[in-house]
Amino acid sequence: MFDKTKKILKYPRLTQDSPKREANFDHYLGNPFIDTSACDMCGECASDCPSNAIFNDEAKGRLDIRYDQCIYCMQCVDSCRLNAINTMKRIFLAEKDKDMLRMSAYSADEKDTVEWEQLGKKLHTEIKSVFGRSLNIREVDSGSCNGCDYEINALNNPFIDVERFGVSFVASPRHADMLLVTGAAVRNMEQALLKTYNATPDPKLVVAVGACACSGGIFRDSYATRKGIEEIIPVDVYVPGCPPRPQAIVYGILKAIGRL
């Protein structure tokens, strides 16, 4: 009993940004980015890319990265002879419109200024104005490698603690406002995913978490997978990443609520 109390007193609150900003984003890898001024269009990166995410944008005459398909492996950074590809250390990549992820117009814009604690506060007010009290989420794995599921699990750990923003995970889709779907909508999960979607009461939101759910990721060409869950159910927000960090998932949830 004494040990227990001692431990509780020693670590009263571990949540990031509490009391002061603790999270350090410096060593996060984030997304790769092609510096078009240094690129000579040799195509080496595109042929090395394991998920075919790099394509030749003929209209603009440059190479670009489809962030929904990218698995953030950084192979292209290694492949480039001219060091034209760098990591942007950006993790808040979620978009409502998939085309936004494919345009790759990511230069330094307002997205970089998102701070984790502010993000949470904003989420909290949005939830209040839209749902009244809280947002209930059901998670469905439609054929992931379980990386994304562990990251969604991490939303409940003492560091992220998403419940303080009024977000909770529920056991049944019938209690849910939002579905967080991971995985490439594989053949054996199709029916279960559809049933879960239909069991969720309207109005409902669907957030595709991870490269597999957004586009099929590295598994997109197989006989058992699909090119993203949007082939089966409508998607409101895409959260790219392989897997996306917990903070990136929260950002995606916030974006989705803004849609209602």
């Binding site: 394991p50 492996c73 794995d141 599921d149 562990y150 058992a224």
Partner: protein, 522 residues
């Protein structure tokens, strides 16, 4: 061993050969498979650790079946290869004598259409009722992106009948944030009479997908077999390719790989321990383990910028010198985790209510564990003292001193203790590896590989023995990639361990094994 086998089965062994130092290949007569396998398994007491088919019609007009036995004391693999004529798609089943073979044979039947004759329960494994008859994707003439129409075949569950016996279907979508799988409990009152797990809900066709890919790209697929075993799987794949290429990985890379492999084990075990506490509604301890896990993730972040240890391995070494300059900070953080873990371990072990719940729950007997080749902490808690790091030493594990905890009784408590003690060993191993790490190169280049050469990679992931078979094709592409993760072996063991327990204990027993669905389903 070789002479012994050849003298007993002189007429049925066509050829024998030693590859990659410790892989003994025998080509045997298909009709004698049953005799030779049971001789090896029963008389020599070698476990069947993998079994798979390969479509070699382009090479010699036939399919090949490989039976892999492990001679753990001598660190040898014994591989029996037999060929199947495409006109006669049958093999004699060995499941009657070797229960561990049952799932492998069903898998081969689904993916290749080779029927195991005399199999006690030859129903579908990989494919569900939506898959049409007669389509076998791992045959070379099946196109990767061919998605057959939805079929309506019927697959029955095992029916247990009797007065007061009823069924509880659970899943595939579960209440918690976990992967999908369907469990069919047959119960009488509270105790479980039988559990049948229908898995393969997340079957993605990874083995087919990797065929024809370049060996570099296939590395990324191997990293995505099972999210929380990323490093162990990619290491296993790299090991196989490095064996084929006969490349020796520089020492610095080997030590760095140990740091990451043990870090992954630590993260995974801390998650499991938290899960065990959560499923017994012991929230204080559960959240402390989650905190520890969070700290371990911070270590991973600082080392490589990835929480899931992806993009670290490279064929022939590691991608960057991840550890240099961070030694002090990493060791400091690990010492803190170790001290706190020690405290938490004392607290949970002295809580009699908690121990009461985990003791005698979900017993996996040594006999069953041996029959089904249970591996990893699941096996070690049931008296099978086997750890790949000791038995098939890879990297520089043989230079580092560490203990492998093992228990006899096989209940949740034993599995929990194995994991708890392994956490301490892993932390000590990381610190030792960082301290002893020599300076030098971090990777070697992989030359062009000889077409159709093959090798096995064996590593110990957090869940246990991991065996990957890689055969390369022309132009450094992958011809056949067989993945056997520890979850594949331990799922049948879990189904046995829950028998006789009450339904509310199932989540607890499940968590104490913590098997990967993705790693099993592929």
């Amino acid at each position: 061993m070789i002479r012994n086998l050849i003298s007993v089965f002189n007429n049925s062994i066509f050829s024998s050969e030693i590859k990659n130092e410790n892989e003994l290949y025998f080509e045997i007569d298909t009709d004698k498979v049953r005799e030779i396998c049971s001789y090896i398994h029963k008389s020599k007491d070698l476990p069947l650790v993998s079994m798979f088919a390969s479509d070699e019609r382009d090479l010699n007009g036939k399919y090949a079946i490989f039976y892999v036995f492990a001679e753990r004391q001598q660190a040898n693999l014994l591989i029996l290869k037999t060929t199947i004529d495409p006109n006669r798609m049958e093999i004699p089943s060995i499941s009657e004598t070797i229960p561990a073979a049952a799932s492998y044979e069903r898998e081969i039947k689904d993916l290749f259409g080779i029927h195991p004759i005399g199999h006690p329960e030859p129903k579908r494994l990989v494919f569900h009722s939506n898959w049409p008859e007669g389509k076998h994707p791992l045959r070379k003439d099946y196109k990767l992106n061919e998605r057959p129409k939805i079929a309506k075949e019927i697959i029955d569950f095992k029916r247990i009948e009797g007065k007061g016996v009823y069924e509880i279907p659970v899943g595939p979508v579960h209440a918690g944030i976990i992967e999908p799988g369907h469990f069919r409990f047959s119960v009488a009152g509270e105790p479980i009479i039988n559990l049948e797990a229908q898995l393969y809900f997340v079957h993605k066709g990874i083995e087919k997908l990797s065929e024809g890919k370049s060996i570099e790209n296939c590395l990324y697929i191997s990293e995505r077999i099972s999210g929380d075993e990323t490093f162990a799987n990619s290491l296993c794949y790299c090991q196989a390719i490095e064996k084929i290429a006969k490349v020796k990985v520089p020492l610095r890379a080997q030590y760095t790989r140990i740091v990451f492999a043990e870090l992954e084990r630590l993260i995974s075990h801390l998650g499991d321990l938290g899960g065990i506490c959560l499923d017994t509604a012991y929230l204080f301890a559960a959240f402390h383990f989650r905190t520890l896990r969070g700290w371990a993730y911070l270590v991973a972040d600082e080392l490589c910028g990835m929480r899931f240890l992806r993009s670290i391995n490279k064929l022939g070494g590691i991608r960057k010198d991840f550890v240099s300059g961070k030694e002090k900070s990493i060791i400091k953080q690990l010492r803190k985790i170790r001290d706190e873990l020690d405290d938490t371990a004392k607290i949970i072990r002295s809580n009699s209510m908690f121990i009461d719940r985990v003791e005698n729950t979900g017993v996996l007997t040594t006999r069953t564990a041996r029959d089904l080749n249970a591996v990893g902490p699941g096996g070690r808690a049931s008296g099978i003292n086997h750890d790949v790091r000791k038995d098939f030493p890879y990297l520089v594990y043989d230079l580092l001193e560490f203990k492998v905890p093992y228990y006899q009784y096989g209940d949740v408590n034993c599995r929990m203790n194995v994991k708890l003690e392994e956490c301490f060993e892993s932390i000590d191993l990381i610190i030792k590896a960082i301290e002893l790490m020599p300076a030098g190169k971090i990777s070697e280049t992989i030359p062009t590989l000889e077409p159709y050469s093959s090798a096995f990679g064996i590593t110990e992931s957090a869940r246990g023995e991991n065996i990957h078979f890689v055969m390369v094709g022309e132009n450094n592409s992958v011809f056949r990639y067989k993945i056997r993760t520890p979850s594949f072996c331990n799922w049948p063991a879990l189904c046995q361990a829950v028998r006789g327990n009450i339904v509310p204990d199932f989540p607890l027993i499940n968590k104490s094994f913590n098997l990967s669905y993705a790693g099993n389903d592929l």
